[in-house]
């Protein structure tokens, strides 16, 4: 007897696509109806995924769902199957949460743009495709979803086609995205040629039987799949297009890109490496993923230090943070995967939040260039606080969530470095990257929110409540996942990690009990991998501690307080006493613009930065060459070592 929840994975995906069609048909004229339809679809899918998450992650079931009831015949999967274990449910949760919050935000944010019906159609298509991608159990179905995703992304990137660079970014995305899809498709075709099946569970069992080592077709397929999903997750050297796309797209869409589209790439990599080809046990594959991750981390953050566009800067940080995730999952240890998944979730939260802040600033001032901003903290106090929360989260300051996941990742890498010296280097890079992240967010804080205000910002107002609401929700989630890591790990992360580690159970659930044993000869057991840490971190107690000291101090501060001179009326000229000190001169406008900050650092790395800027040439041909070159390197490397 099937539980009704088991229909939800398919329905949650369908309802988003259905919403897309309904918006196209009925939402052309009526603005309210179109928003209602879109939000209804997003809400329905979010609620369904919540039910699924409870059923799968908390109750420990695995949902297997054969579309059209095409169950396997003679142990061969013919139909399309959906298999939802804790890993899928975890990513599905991220996807629908992002969709839902982005939807709320879009209502006001997109109200000034023309063509809202196209926007909502594409938005729902994108969400539906990513949700389908993370829920499916069929690798070709995954490819179909990738295609839909890529084209929705292209259209949304170029959505503000009147703005500078949007069409160009769309075109770049089209080229590189198609390249990624092609790689994936070729990889899938090779796997199909070898195993005659497209079901992921069955593929996994078949490949485990023959083994990948020495089988150059398999290795080629593996390299192609890594490249394909690498392009979707924008790891270096496939990251070039991300910067353009994130910058050109509306903020609510940038949030979708960083919140779920590149998470889809990460999900794909985890599925391919851990489940389908089961290659993560091999040290050489770990080295490859960790190398890609480490380079992404460092290149992303150093490029971000150089940017002066708010959203472009955030885009490079996305690359850097995905580097952390890839490094962590590339370690192949349970703690590593846990850290990687935790960081993926945190990245969805804080980076989405940062993009929303960038959008709020754009909504209020019409600018994204950091050199033309300043003093917004007084005009938009709530946005400023939210931005600070997000910035501290991404920089990993305790007690925010970025710290927890980075902490887990450092533990994992450092524990691994007991075996090999190279991982020590990775630890150092990861820690330095974190500091550089803080540096570049200081730059944003200084240039956008603090510093002297500009006269043209006199009429700037805080963004409306419907935009602040999703931002506050995410900010609270950022703090919550930071102060209650134990709760989050137990309820959400550990089941997902166990799902990643229990390959045979995944196969058996899909293909029927005993299938794995028949094919590979090893029985299916659920592995609950122990996450061994080499340090300690219990933030709740510290929070108590932080709180007590803070209270004690505030008491002292309040009693010792004296009256303060303060003018906060923006219209009136400040008196001399409260004016900024300018060495005695009249206070004039003179800010240190973002590009000038940290020159002491940049000066010493001049050669490196010049080279890096040369590589980011802006020519799509170069980018394609990089992608193909990376593919070639992957193929050669994997063929040489496996």
């Amino acid at each position: 007897m099937m539980n009704y929840v088991e229909h939800f994975p398919a329905l949650a995906t369908m309802v988003l696509f259905l919403g897309a069609f309904l918006v196209t048909i009925f939402g052309g004229k009526n603005k309210t109806l179109r928003i209602f339809l879109a939000m209804a679809a997003a809400t329905a899918s979010f609620v369904m995924v919540l039910c699924v998450a409870k059923y799968v992650i908390i109750d420990g079931n695995i949902i297997t769902y054969w579309l059209g009831n095409w169950t396997p015949v003679k142990d061969y999967a013919i139909g399309i199957g959906l298999e939802v274990d804790s890993l899928n449910a975890f990513f599905a949760l991220l996807v629908t949460l992002t969709t839902y919050l982005s939807g709320w935000y879009s209502i006001k944010y997109m109200s000034r743009d023309e063509g809202g019906d196209y926007y909502y159609t594409l938005y729902l298509m994108l969400s539906g495709s990513v949700l389908g991608l993370v829920l499916t159990g069929d690798i070709f179905n995954m490819f179909v979803m990738i295609e839909i995703m890529t084209f929705a992304c292209v259209a949304l990137t170029a959505f503000r086609n009147w703005s500078k660079g949007a069409l160009e970014a769309g075109f770049k995305y089209l080229v590189i995205g198609s390249l990624g899809s092609t790689c994936t498709l070729t990889g899938i075709a090779l796997l199909y040629a070898q195993c005659h099946t497209l079901n992921m569970a069955q593929l996994s069992a078949m490949i485990a039987k023959v083994g990948i080592t020495g089988n150059s077709t398999m290795i080629l397929a593996f390299a192609l799949l890594i490249t394909g999903f690498g392009i979707k997750s924008y790891a270096v050297p496939f990251h070039f297009v991300a910067a353009d796309a994130y910058m050109a797209a509306p903020a609510s869409v940038s949030m979708l890109f960083s919140g779920m589209v590149n998470k889809a790439g990460v999900y794909g990599l985890i599925r391919v490496c851990y489940i389908i080809l089961q290659t993560m046990g091999l040290g050489k594959v770990q080295t490859l993923l960790v190398a890609v991750g480490t380079v992404s981390m460092f290149v992303g953050v150093t490029m971000a230090l150089n940017q002066h566009d708010f959203k472009r800067l955030l885009a490079f940080h996305s690359i850097s943070q995905i580097g952390y995730v890839l490094t962590a999952i590339g370690l192949g240890t349970a703690l590593g995967v846990a850290g990687g998944l935790y960081h993926a979730m945190n990245h969805t939260l804080f980076k989405g939040l940062l993009f929303l802040c960038a959008g709020a600033v754009y909504y209020a001032t019409g600018r994204t260039n950091l050199n033309n901003m300043g003093g917004l903290a007084k005009k938009m106090p709530q946005t400023c606080i939210i931005f600070l929360i997000a910035a501290f989260s991404i920089s990993g300051l305790p007690p925010f969530n970025g710290f927890v996941s980075k902490w887990m990742i450092y533990q994992a890498i450092y524990a691994k470095s007991a075996q090999s010296f190279g991982y020590l280097f990775v630890t150092v890079v990861a820690l330095i990257t974190s500091t550089l992240t803080l540096a570049s967010f200081i730059k944003v804080t200084q240039s956008a929110f603090f510093g002297q205000s500009r006269p043209e910002f006199d009429d700037v107002k805080e963004v409306p409540g419907s935009m602040l609401l999703p931002m506050w929700v995410m900010a609270i989630l950022c703090v919550f996942t930071g102060v209650a890591p134990k709760f989050v790990t137990e309820k959400l992360i550990t089941p997902a990690v166990n799902a990643v580690m229990s390959v045979n159970k995944y196969i058996d659930t899909m293909m029927g009990a005993g299938y794995t044993e028949k094919i590979t000869g090893s029985a299916a057991t659920e592995i609950s991998a122990e996450q061994i840490t080499i340090g300690n971190w219990t933030p709740v107690m510290w929070l108590v501690l932080f709180g007590i000291v803070l209270v004690a101090f505030t008491v002292v501060a309040v009693f010792g307080k004296s009256s303060r001179g303060y003018t906060n009326n923006s219209k009136e000229q400040p008196d001399n006493k409260h004016a900024t000190f300018f060495g005695g001169e009249m206070a004039t406008r003179s800010t240190v613009v973002g590009s000038d900050l940290f020159w002491g650092f940049r000066h010493n790395f001049k050669g490196y930065f010049e080279k890096l800027e040369g590589i980011h040439s802006g020519v799509v041909n170069d980018y394609a060459v990089w992608a193909i070159g990376a593919l070639a390197v992957f193929v050669m490397y994997l063929n040489a070592v496996l």
Binding site: G560, S562, S563, N576, F581, G584
Partner: protein
């Protein structure tokens, strides 16, 4: 409870901000001489602050030229209460040889209440130390007065 302590500390840790209002540099180097090992003003808690916001005592040297008058007054206004204003050398108090010059806009006491005048051209370090010490005492008194006046600090 802490008021007494704060009043005492006000005299024991006066930080200086030095403004050159068109001085010939003679007084300026004498002020620096006060901080050298021989006179060591730091033993009384004196310290040069980098910004008027940190200062307790503003030391003005030079005759207050027309060009710099507004800047000096603005800077003095940016010093938080309680504060002392000390003129150093004859120039800011009387104008000295610059008195009838067309650039002269002084004396400083025309615009603000000066607490201590340190005489001399250039003032001797011993005199400077004496004057600054007096200013520190005045600071303590000012702090007390302010507290008694009803907390407008």
């Amino acid at each position: 409870m802490f008021d007494n302590l704060i009043n005492k500390s006000a005299a024991k840790s006066p930080w200086l901000f030095h403004i050159n209002a068109g001085s010939c540099n003679g007084c300026d180097i004498e002020l620096v001489a006060v901080l050298t090992p021989r006179y060591d003003a730091e033993r009384l808690g004196f310290r040069l602050a980098g910004t008027p916001r940190h200062a307790d005592i503003v030391v003005v040297t030079g005759p207050l030229t027309a060009q710099i008058k507004d800047r000096v007054l603005r800077t003095i206004e940016q010093v938080p209460e309680p504060r002392c204003i000390v003129t150093m050398g004859s120039c800011p108090a009387s104008g000295n040889v610059f008195k009838d010059g067309y650039t002269y806009a002084g004396p400083l006491s025309k615009y603000v209440d000066v607490d201590v005048d340190i005489a001399g051209c250039a003032a001797k370090p011993e005199t400077v130390l004496e004057g600054l010490y007096q200013a520190a005492m005045i600071l303590e008194q000012k702090r007390k007065d302010m507290k008694n006046k009803g907390g407008q600090i």
